[in-house]
Amino acid sequence: MSTTLFRTIQPNHFTLLGTALFRTRRTTRHISVRCLNQTATTQEPKPSSQPRTAPKNHGSNKLDEILRDYEAVIGIETHVQLSTSTKAFCSCPNSYGSHPNTSICPVCMGLPGALPVLSSKVVDFGVRLGLALNCELSLKSKFDRKQYFYPDLPKGYQISQFDIPIASGGYVDVDIPLEFGGGHRRFGITRVHMEEDAGKLLHSDSGDYSQVDLNRAGVPLLEIVSEPDMRSGIEAAEYGSEMQRIVRYLGVSNGNMQEGSLRCDVNISIRPIGQAEFGTKVEIKNLNAFSAMSRAIDYEITRQALLYNQGQADQIVTETRLWDEGAQKTVTMRKKEGLADYRYFPEPDLPEVILAQEYVDSIRASLPELPEAKRRRYEDMGLGIQDVLFIANDVSVAEYFDEVISKGADVKSAANWLMSDIAAYLKNEELSINDVKLTPQELAELIAAIKDETISGKIGKQILFELLAKGGTVQGLIKEKDLVQITDPVEIEKMIMKVISESPKQLEQYRSGKTKLQGFFAGQVMKMSKGKANPALLNKILLEKLNAKE
């Protein structure tokens, strides 16, 4: 074992990773200053059909002012809990919510003599995510021990990957939502590596002791470290959302921030615009929603800028701050005394992770269409960006949409139905698209039936509700409820004449100038026809009759 100590650790471009790994003051890096045209992060976002809660921008004018003088430099570390059936290095079940300390064994408990064995699924997911993030894969990588003492860390070290992660040097493309300025952004991904989670630490109410649940110890994680490419809370939140979208699309994780299967820590510093050197970096933890991330960043930018303006920039120290959701501010965790020294060295109990090129190629071939590709495809189909973002946000919705289109339905109509009536239904009933009884085939039928005027749009909306809740076929319902639209002008004329003759008073009023009463007549005819009269035809003939007589 001592021979491992004297092996030359291969110097490679990972030794460059000062900022993310060391949690130290940033060293100067030669990076060209990106002068992004800061799109205004001002308006109070209007309630949109976007699933993600749009962040409130309190004091937004203040932020605008600040952003004229300072540039925020933001990087994000994301920990993704993998949805494997077992833990990373032992066969204990990986299931959320089990009774505490029941998913344990000598390996994950760190008992003497136990040895870790890597799960093939973890490697698979690592490769998958690395490829999805456009990274270069390390065909040979290794594990290292990250050593520190903490009650939720049974072995006294965490098995992680330090200098040779499984993937590195990638990027992700996102679309900023329209209400925040829109536009495309590309953010770099420094690295993706495999590691294990620690247990859960709960603090007792009485305060003199804490409690540990080790069910989570050893659960596999993929850590994604971004380049410090984000420049605002909005960009950071969108990056986070895209990470969530991607891991869900890939099926490597359920990406729930509330459950803790997706955790984001933000590293943020500001610098006067034009300065090449980075400012002092602050880490923010305890963010459990993307909106919180955005607000925390805005708060922190403001806090740091204030100190700069007061000539107290030296008050900004490298530290970890927690986001206090209640108070809507970041607060200091205890300031670190000195640097954390993790004493990394290669994990002697685990062999190299070797990836065959064919293995990587086969995984690449099996990747699903990713959110970015979907968004571009939908844009090419002619959908507006708002629709594109909505549909591509959820992989199940996108799949549903794709199926509806494949049955021949008109793209724009399909998008509209999904975004309005169907989305509203899902929200009210708290269902996911996979739960509705309306099949994509039937939605395509519905769209076609309205298009060829078999039924009117209004009737369409009515039967949609029944189709969603109970299923059935469009044709079936049309027959059953006798919903076929009336398009015979003769029939319509008959009804119109009847209505006119039954309402002489209104006719009088119409003739003497109250042309708005046309709506009254139209309504009556509709009622008589049980909503089946073709509206366009109805109004055309009605107008003729109303203006022509006598």
Binding site: F22, S91, C92, I104, Y209, S210, D341, R343
Partner: protein
């Protein structure tokens, strides 16, 4: 114990300037990347004759990081013993590895992966029973707020 102490020493040695020779780089690494020369963590024992001998071990700091308490006399004793072991291993510095491609790990074969099939460990009860501070559901531990 000596090997663990040795491990701790090597891991914790102070920053070294790393002389990186262009020839030792894998050709795939991008030439546009810059290299951080002051790296605490990437310890590189080059066989370059300019490389300095390891600093004497800071035994009290080592003991601190390993959470081992030592009396002042033990610190002195340990320091000397650790020094001896390191110097003995230090003989490896004589070997010229300039023309040798650095390996990631010692052994030749990788692999040994496990299927993702859950198994419940039969004797969980005895694991829990062997924890003195286990309180029926959780492990009870002193309240700790800050990592290291």
């Amino acid at each position: 114990m000596a090997t663990r102490a040795l491990l701790a020493v090597i891991s914790a040695s102070p920053p070294r300037i790393i002389r990186i020779k262009a020839s030792t780089f894998p050709s795939s690494s991008s030439s546009s990347l810059q290299f951080q020369r002051h790296s605490r963590i990437a310890r590189c024992f080059s066989s370059d004759s300019n490389s300095s001998v390891l600093q004497p071990p800071d035994v009290s700091r080592l003991a601190e990081t390993a959470r081992i308490s030592l009396t002042p006399s033990e610190i002195e004793e340990c320091g000397a013993k650790i020094r001896q072991v390191i110097d003995w291993f230090g003989q490896l510095q004589q070997v010229d590895v300039n023309s040798v491609e650095p390996a990631i790990r010692a052994e030749m074969e990788g692999g040994n992966l496990r299927e993702d099939a859950p198994e419940t460990f039969e004797n969980r009860e005895s694991i829990r029973a062997s924890i003195p501070s286990f309180d029926e559901v959780y492990l009870k531990v002193p309240k700790v707020l800050n990592k290291e």
